[in-house]
Amino acid sequence: MFQKMLTVKTIVAIGIGTAVFVILGRFGSIPTGVPNTNIETAYAFLALMSVLFGPIAGVLIGWFGHGIKDAIMYGSPWFSWVIASGIVGLVIGLAANQIKISEGEFGKAEIIKFNIYQVIGNVLAWLLVAPVLDILIYAEPVNKVWTQGIVAGIANIVTVGVIGTILLLAYAKTRTKTGSLSKDA
C-alpha cells in the first residue's frame, strides 16, 4: 500500500511541508487582539499542502509539524492537540481528488468544496478529537476543553477559510490551465 500511495514526491512534500509548518507555527502567527487567539498561518499552509498532495501528506504534516513545533518550542508535545492537527490535514486532503488545482482549476465550485471540507475537518479536530483526548488523557474539566476547542476551531476555520483560499487561488494562477492554448488563425 505504501509503495503506491507514498511516491517519492509525497515523501519529500511531507518532509519539507513539516519543516515549513514548524517555522510558520513558530514565527508566522498573527495576534488578533483577543488574548491567546492567534491567526495561525501554519494551518492555511497545511490546507494548501493537503489539497496539493492528498490526505496522507495532510495527516503526516499535521502530526509531525505540530509535534516537532511543540517539542522544539516547549520541550514536549501536547499530544491531544497534535493528533487533532493531523485530522485537519487528513480531512482537507480528502478534497484533493475533487479539486484539480495542479491544472489551474480553482473557481467558485472549488472554493465552496474546499471550504466545506476545511470546516468539517476543523470541527472534527477542535470540537471533537482535541477535547475528547484532553479529557481522556489529562482528565481536564469538560467546559474548559470545550471552550478552548470552540475558540481554536473558529480561529482556524476563519484562518483557513480566508488565507487558505487566498493561497490556493494564488497557486492556481501559477499553473497553466489545460486547454489554455488556442491556435492563431
Binding site: 519539507i16 520541550g75 493561497l167
Partner: protein
C-alpha cells in the same frame, strides 16, 4: 526575532552513547505511561527518575532553560484556566470536599482541587525531561534509522529526517523573506489593522511557499535519480547494534512500566485518592 530552537548537541555521556532506538522506545513508552496514569506516587517517582537521567546526560540546564520557562508559563496559565472553568473538578473526581479558602462566589479553594491540579501539572512535567533529552541527545539521521528499526516504514522515517534536516534552512529562508519585506515597510505588529496585518503576513508566507514547492521538486528529482524507494527495505549508514547500556535501559523501562501500571490499576481507578 528570537531564533531559539532546541536541537541536537553532541556531548559525550552515557545517555548520548545510547542507541537512538533505545531512546525512542524509552521516550514513547514513558510518555504513554505518563498519559495513562494519574497516580501521584508514580508520577512523582517518574519525575525524579527523569531528573536523575537528565543529570547523568550532563546536558547543561541553560541549553534547555528557555523551553522549560515557556512550559512553566504555559502550565501556570493552564492551571488558572482549569480553576476558572471548573473550580470543583477535584471534588468530583475524588468524591470528597475539604474546603481550605473561600474566594468569591463559586470559587472556593479545596484541597481536592489543588491535589487534582497538581497531578495535571505533574503529568505534564513528567514527560518533559525525557522529551528534552530525546531531542538534544539524538542525532537526526540516527533517529530516522531507529524509526525503521522499530518497524515504521522507512519512507515515513525518511520524511521525518528530511523535516529535521531542513528546519534550519527553512527558518533562514523565512527570516530572509521577512527582513526583505520589512525593509519595504511591511508591519506585522499590533500597530497595523488586522486586515493589513493578514495581507502583510501573506506577502511573507507566499514566497516561502513557492520556494519550498521548488525545493520539493528538486529534492524529489534528486532522490528518484538515485533510485530511492525502489526496494522494500534499506540499510542505514548510521545504524548501530544495541549495546549493554541499551539492554540495561530497556530492562529498567520494562520494570518501571510494569510497576507503574500495576500500582495505578490495582485498586481499579487511575486516580490515587488520599482523601
Amino acid at each position: 526575532m528570537s531564533s531559539f530552537l532546541l536541537a541536537y548537541m553532541p556531548i559525550d555521556s552515557p545517555i548520548h552513547r545510547l542507541n537512538a532506538v533505545t531512546k525512542l522506545i524509552f521516550f514513547v513508552v514513558w510518555s504513554l505511561v505518563a498519559m495513562i496514569t494519574f497516580d501521584t506516587r508514580i508520577l512523582a517517582v517518574m519525575l525524579t527518575i527523569g531528573c536523575v537521567i537528565f543529570a547523568i546526560s550532563r546536558v547543561p540546564f541553560r541549553n534547555v532553560a528557555i523551553p522549560v520557562y515557556l512550559i512553566l508559563i504555559f502550565l501556570f496559565l493552564n492551571n488558572v484556566a482549569i480553576f476558572l472553568f471548573s473550580p470543583q473538578e477535584g471534588v468530583e473526581i475524588y468524591g470528597s470536599r475539604t474546603e481550605w479558602l473561600h474566594l468569591v462566589g463559586r470559587y472556593t479553594l479545596t484541597w481536592e482541587q489543588m491535589f487534582y491540579q497538581m497531578n495535571v501539572t505533574l503529568k505534564y512535567l513528567t514527560v518533559l525531561p525525557m522529551a528534552l533529552l530525546f531531542l538534544v541527545t539524538t542525532h537526526p539521521s540516527e533517529f530516522a534509522s531507529s524509526l525503521a528499526r522499530i518497524g515504521v516504514n522507512y519512507r515515513i522515517g525518511y520524511a521525518l529526517a528530511i523535516a529535521l534536516r531542513y528546519i534550519p534552512d527553512i527558518q533562514r529562508d523565512y527570516r530572509h523573506i521577512a527582513f526583505a519585506q520589512q525593509t519595504r515597510g511591511l508591519d506585522l505588529s499590533r500597530k497595523e489593522k488586522l486586515g493589513t496585518r493578514i495581507k502583510n503576513a501573506i506577502s511573507i508566507v507566499w514566497p516561502l511557499i513557492l520556494s519550498s514547492l521548488d525545493r520539493i521538486e528538486k529534492i524529489s528529482a534528486a532522490m528518484e535519480l538515485r533510485g530511492f524507494g525502489s526496494q522494500k527495505k534499506r540499510t542505514f549508514y548510521n545504524s548501530r547494534p544495541l549495546a549493554t547500556g541499551d539492554y540495561i535501559a530497556l530492562a529498567l523501562l520494562a520494570v518501571l512500566t510494569f510497576v507503574a501500571l500495576y500500582v495505578t490499576f490495582h485498586d481499579g481507578s487511575r486516580f490515587y485518592n488520599p482523601f
